[in-house]
Amino acid sequence: MNSLQSAREKISAGERLTRDELLALYAENDLLYLAESARRVKESKTGRKVFYVVNRHVNLTNVCSANCPLCAYQCRSGDDNRAFTLELDDVEKILTDAANVNGLSEIHIVSSLHPTKNFSYYVDAVKLVKKILPRVAVNAFTPVEIVNFAKISGMSVAEVLGELIAAGVTSLAGGGAEILSDRVRQIICPKKCTADEWLEVMRTAHSLNLPTNASMLYGHVETIEERVDHLLTLRQLQDETGGFVAMMLFPFHPSNTQLGSRFNLRRVGSWEDLKMLALTRLALDNFVHVKAFWVMLTLPIAQLALSFGADDLDGTLGEEKIIHAAGAQSSPSITRSQLETLIAETGYIPTERDSFYREV
């Protein structure tokens, strides 16, 4: 029996797929078969519900010492006319404003690796959230930032996480995984933490009962095998810890990036986006949630993604800067009722959630 036949049989039986089987499904390119299979998996995990969260994104700074070729957001120095760094007063203003948002349940903080700010700056920002919004969950910092905090503070990853938990962080962000292959990371983000370091931060977080998300950035210089290996690496860690909550896919937006111009990259098409989403849903059988991040996909494609295995449209955001710097076309925020309409049109049940996927 070839890999494709065994893949189809395993999908019918609800069994785990191997690397070869996932690659065979990718190569076959039967988009609606993948969709239909992924949708069944989604419904077996979360039924007819589709989740969203009322949240706010806070990006503390865009000044960055990593200077990744994949990124359009960072500035090398504070002198750049696009550069910004929020002081704690500014953060306080944003949070006070966010306190007026009806039903706000999560603040999401991700930022660049600022060359001179101390670890205490980030801890204080989290403490401010807890002071101004004591009931709001804090989903913050990717493992790339955590590794940077360990480096600049001289503390261990576990100590960094311990301090952040004490300050009020309730889950870690899933970004910075990119492709968990050091070959790829050398090209797209040579100064970021290694694949093993990223995984080790997640493992440590999970051991401290700090849930995290996971992600994949695809559509640049990686091979299809590297995408599949990335998914399998995440699946393996999830088997070990069970600490991942949701998976997100980030299609690479090449505009304004060094990587895009160096390799003459184009944004992959919606076909590829939906195919990767369905394949991810099929590969990650031990993840409960897979997000269709509408900022990346645009609202129409995010809506379609609900029939390709996604069960979460993420949030209302407020203001998103990172992906828009790379030419994302979606509007930077959306209202609760727009999200609800979008979900209801698909026949699924719009379900507002908190940071931990509890219904609110």
């Binding site: 390119n29 988009l31 609606l32 078969y33 969709a35 239909e36 949708r39 184009r266 992959v268 098409g269 919606s270 076909w271 590829e272 939906l274 645009t298 129409p300 494609i301 809506q303 379609l304 029939s307 390709f308 979008l342 049109e345 698909t346 026949g347």
Partner: protein, 351 residues
Amino acid sequence: MLERIERKIFGGERLTREDGEFLFACNELTRIGALADHVRKKICGDEVLYNVNCHVNLTNICAARCKFCAFGRGGGDRGSYAMTIDEALKLVGEAAGNPNLSGVHIVSGLHPTWTFEHYVEFVAAIHEKFPALHVKGFTGVEIQHFATISGLSVEEILRRLKAAGLQAIAGGGAEILSDRVRNELCPKKCTADEWLNVARTAHRLGIPTNASMLYGHIETHAERVDHLLKLRDLQDETGGFRTFICFPFLPKNTALEHIRQTSMWDDLKTLAISRLMLDNFPNIKAYWVMLTVPVAQVALSFGANDIDGTIHRENILHEAGATSPRSLTEDEIIRIIREAGRIPRSTGGRS
């Protein structure tokens, strides 16, 4: 019920009105899409048709002023225009700078003072100067209008246009083939029967035509199904339709701006159902201008086997807030088709 429809499709059995209405009410989008994809494979294979073409809109001055239109203007209105023959030739000449240009698509407002002869002159001039280009032009609405203003029969109109170089009739103007809807939205346009009669007459004269459906305004799902059935019946009779195109209504800058634009969910479902109902149409087009390029690409797995063309410069729908580009390069179209695992095939203007 969906299982029953699945059995019918796999058994090659024709769907009924009830089946069509059930599908519109059903939200199993990917299952409906997979059925349409199955039918597409059977009827069209894996090639996806595209065109290196150029749209020519001779004038936006229009006597009909339909509620769903953002393109039409009154004669003295800001932004109104009426091309001269030289201007039309210049536009086509510009597009013909691309050596692969193979087709011209001419649709326009119903100009209140132009004579039928004037339209014939446009066709003749374009055909004479660019004899290699396939000239498709005029919707059933325009043809009926020419008959009205000239006092000639539809048949005579079509014969004269054909003699001047016209090779196919455009698919627009069908809107919803229901006089209830037409009285409400486009009372000055030809009736449903008149539109069908133009297509029937063209087919009899050996002139192929396209067909379309404008949906997402005031029509009911039953009216959409009824529309598809009218087209299917006529196709049974004549076999002269080449391509069916779904037009989701774009409300911006129209008299119906309060209507919410259709969701992509509805767009793909409608396209898939069209492929399933129109079992006698050779081609179903995903018109990227209206659907946007990302959705048109995905539509290739929901029953579409044609993605239209490069267009050169689209005007009509960009007046209604279309967010897609005004043109695509051939390379871009080929890349979109290949990513979907399909085989690009240029139609030489014939789609």
